[in-house]
C-alpha cells in the first residue's frame, strides 16, 4: 500500500516535471498554419467552378468579356429573371414528380412495412426477401424493357411515367427502412392501444404515422435528390418541353443559351438552390441518402 501511495503521490509531480519539457502540448496552442493553408487550397480548388458560376451569373456579355475572372459591377440581377422564365417549368415539373412520388412511396411503404413488421402470415418472409432482393438490381439494367413497356402502355409524355422508376425504387428502400423502424417500436404501445379498443387501421393512423415521421423525412429527401438528378429516364420518355424535369431541362436550356453566359449560369444556380438548401438544413439525412443511393447516382 505504502509503495502504491508513494508512486501515486510521485506521479503528478513527475508529470509536472516532464511538463516543463513537453513540446507537443506547447505546440498545441500554436495555430496550425500549414494545415489551414492546405485545407483552404483544397476547398478553393473544389469550390472554384461553383464560385465561377456564382460570379459569372451576375455579369452581362460585356462584363463577361472585360472582366473574365473578377466579379463585375453593377450586378445584373436581371439575368436571374431571364433564366427563371426559361427554367421555372422544369423546376415545377421536378417538384410535381417528386411530390407525387413521395406520396406514393410513403403511403405504400408505410403500409407494407407495418404489415411485415407487426403481422405473422404465410409468405411473409418470402415477400420481404423478394422486396429486399430488388436492392441488388440496378435500375439501369432494366431501363430498355421498362421503356418498351411504358411505351406500349401509352404513358410517354406524362408525369406518371416520370414517377414510375422513383416509386418502384423508393418502395424497396422505404419498405426496408419502415419495417426496421416499426420493429423497433415497443410492442407495449400497440398492446395498450389494442386494450383501449383500437383496431389495426386506428393503430396505424394514430401511432404509426406520427412515430414514423423521421423515416418519412429520410425517404422524402432521398426521393427529391433522386428526381433532381434523374437524367436518362426523362431524356428517353419525355419529348414535350413543359414536362422536362430539372436535369434534362437544364441541358436543353444550356443549348438554347448560346453565348449568353450570364443568364446561363444564373439558370444553373437557380436549379441548384433547392438541393443546396436541403443539404444545408438537413445535412445528416442528405448524407444518409447519398450513402443509400450511391450505386447508380452517377
Amino acid at each position: 500500500m505504502a509503495v502504491l501511495e508513494a508512486t501515486a503521490v510521485k506521479s503528478p509531480s513527475g508529470t509536472r516535471a516532464r511538463g516543463q519539457a513537453r513540446p507537443p502540448r506547447l505546440r498545441g496552442s500554436r495555430p496550425q498554419w500549414g494545415l489551414h493553408i492546405a485545407a483552404v487550397v483544397l476547398v478553393l480548388v473544389g469550390l472554384g467552378p461553383y464560385i465561377f458560376m456564382l460570379t459569372t451569373s451576375f455579369k452581362d456579355n460585356q462584363q463577361f468579356a472585360e472582366s473574365y475572372w473578377l466579379p463585375a459591377f453593377p450586378l445584373r440581377f436581371e439575368n436571374f429573371a431571364t433564366a427563371w422564365t426559361q427554367i421555372s417549368p422544369y423546376l415545377l415539373a421536378s417538384v410535381i414528380v417528386a411530390a407525387g412520388s413521395i406520396v406514393a412511396i410513403v403511403a405504400i411503404s408505410l403500409v407494407t412495412g407495418f404489415v411485415l413488421a407487426r403481422y405473422r402470415f404465410v409468405g411473409r418472409t418470402f415477400f420481404f426477401t423478394m422486396v429486399a432482393a430488388l436492392m441488388m438490381i440496378p435500375g439501369i439494367a432494366s431501363l430498355i424493357p421498362l421503356f418498351v413497356m411504358v411505351k406500349d402502355m401509352g404513358l410517354i409524355n406524362t408525369y406518371l411515367v416520370l414517377m414510375i422508376p422513383h416509386i418502384s425504387g423508393g418502395i424497396v428502400l422505404g419498405t426496408i427502412l419502415m419495417k426496421t423502424f416499426i420493429e423497433g417500436i415497443p410492442q407495449t404501445l400497440f398492446d395498450a392501444a389494442q386494450l383501449d379498443g383500437a383496431g389495426g387501421v386506428r393503430i396505424f393512423a394514430s401511432i404509426m404515422l406520427p412515430l414514423s415521421l423521421p423515416v418519412v423525412g429520410t425517404v422524402g429527401l432521398i426521393t427529391v435528390n433522386g428526381v433532381w438528378n434523374d437524367f436518362f429516364w426523362p431524356l428517353l420518355t419525355i419529348t414535350q418541353n413543359e414536362l422536362r424535369t430539372a436535369s434534362v431541362g437544364l441541358l436543353f436550356f444550356q443549348s438554347q443559351s448560346g453565348t449568353n453566359y450570364g443568364p446561363m449560369f444564373a439558370g444553373y444556380l437557380l436549379a441548384s438552390i433547392p438541393l443546396v438548401l436541403l443539404f444545408t438544413f438537413l445535412s445528416k439525412y442528405f448524407l444518409a441518402g447519398v450513402q443509400g443511393g450511391l450505386p447508380g447516382s452517377h
Binding site: S142, P145, I167, Y261
Partner: protein
C-alpha cells in the same frame, strides 16, 4: 430498443389476416409490374429479334454471338476499365484531404472544413457536368483562359473535341474528387481511430507518412474493400457525365457500355440486341453486387454516416 422479443410480437395468430395480404397488394403489384417484369422480359427478349410493335422472332444466342464481334462494345468496356482504375487512384486526394482535416485539433475547424469540402455534393449532377463542359470549352472556357492568362496560350486545347484528350478531360471532371463517398468514409474512419493509437505511435517516433501507411490504411481495410466494390458497381453504370460532356465521342473515344446500349436501342432500333447488351450489363452488376454483400457480411460495422 424492444426489450420484449418474439413471444409478444406474434399475438394475432388466431385470425387469418386476409387484410394483411390486401395491404401488401399495392407494393406487390408495383414491384411486380415495374421491377420484376421488365427485368425478366429483358432477359427473355434478348433471345429474340425483338420488334416491340409487332412479330418477334426467336433467334437463340444470335444476339450474344453478335456481342462477341462488336468492337465498339468491347472498346466501351476498355474505357470503363480506364475510368475504374483512375477513380481508384484518384482516392489519394480524398485520403490526403481527410488526413489534413482530421489533423486539426479544434472540432470546429474540422467540421467547417469537411462541410466546405463536401459542399459540391449538394449541387445537382447536371450542374456540375455543365459547368465542367464550360470549363473545357475551346474559346472562352476557364481552362484555356487560365492558360492564356499565364502566357501559356499555346497549350490551349479543344479539350473534349480531341480524341486523344477527351478521355483525360472526362476523367478530370470533379477534380479534386473530394466531394463524395470516399472522402466521407476516410474522414469518419480516421475520426473513429482511438487517440491512444496515435499517441503510442508518436511515442514510438512514427512519422506521418508511415502512420498513414502502417496504421490508417490497415484500420480502414474493410471500408476500403466496400468502397472498391461500390466503385465497380458505380462504374458499370457510368454514362451520364459522358453523355452530357462528350456524348461518347469524339470518334467513340469516350464511349461507355451504357451509351453503346442506348445507341443500339434508340438510334438503330435494334431492341433484341440492346436487350442482350442490357442483360449482359445486368449480369455483370449482379455478380459484383453479390460480391459486395459477401464483403459487407464480413464487416461488423459498415459505413456509418450518422457519426459525422
Amino acid at each position: 430498443m424492444d426489450p420484449t422479443p418474439h413471444p409478444t410480437r406474434a399475438p394475432r395468430r388466431r385470425r387469418f389476416p386476409w387484410y394483411a395480404y390486401l395491404a401488401l397488394l399495392p407494393a406487390g403489384v408495383v414491384l411486380g409490374v415495374f421491377q420484376y417484369y421488365p427485368a425478366l422480359s429483358g432477359m427473355y427478349f434478348s433471345f429474340f429479334d425483338w420488334n416491340p410493335a409487332g412479330q418477334s422472332d426467336f433467334v437463340g444466342f444470335d444476339n450474344y454471338l453478335r456481342m462477341l464481334d462488336d468492337d465498339l462494345w468491347w472498346r466501351s468496356f476498355r474505357n470503363l476499365g480506364i475510368i475504374f482504375a483512375f477513380s481508384i487512384v484518384a482516392w489519394v486526394i480524398p485520403l490526403f484531404a481527410a488526413e489534413v482535416v482530421t489533423s486539426f485539433r479544434s472540432d470546429r475547424a474540422q467540421f467547417a472544413y469537411r462541410t466546405l469540402l463536401i459542399l459540391p455534393m449538394a449541387f445537382p449532377g447536371i450542374v456540375t457536368a455543365l459547368i465542367w463542359a464550360f470549363m473545357y470549352q475551346p474559346n472562352r472556357g476557364v481552362i484555356n483562359e487560365a492558360l492564356r492568362a499565364l502566357g501559356l496560350g499555346d497549350l490551349a486545347q479543344n479539350w473534349v473535341g480531341d480524341p486523344d484528350l477527351a478521355m483525360l478531360s472526362l476523367l478530370l471532371i470533379g477534380f479534386p474528387f473530394i466531394a463524395g463517398l470516399p472522402f466521407l468514409i476516410f474522414y469518419t474512419s480516421l475520426r473513429n481511430v482511438p487517440r491512444e493509437v496515435y499517441e503510442a505511435a508518436q511515442l514510438d517516433g512514427v512519422g506521418r507518412l508511415r502512420r498513414v501507411v502502417s496504421i490508417d490504411l490497415p484500420l480502414m481495410l474493410t471500408q476500403l474493400k466496400l468502397l472498391v466494390f461500390l466503385a465497380v458497381v458505380g462504374t458499370v453504370q457510368y454514362g451520364f457525365v459522358a453523355y452530357v460532356v462528350t456524348g461518347g465521342g469524339p470518334d467513340n473515344a469516350t464511349l461507355v457500355p451504357l451509351l453503346r446500349m442506348f445507341s443500339v436501342a434508340f438510334q438503330a432500333q435494334d431492341w433484341g440486341y440492346a436487350a442482350a447488351l442490357s442483360t449482359m450489363l445486368f449480369a455483370v452488376t449482379l455478380v459484383l453486387s453479390c460480391v459486395i454483400v459477401f464483403v459487407r457480411r464480413g464487416s461488423p460495422g459498415s459505413v456509418d454516416v450518422r457519426g459525422m
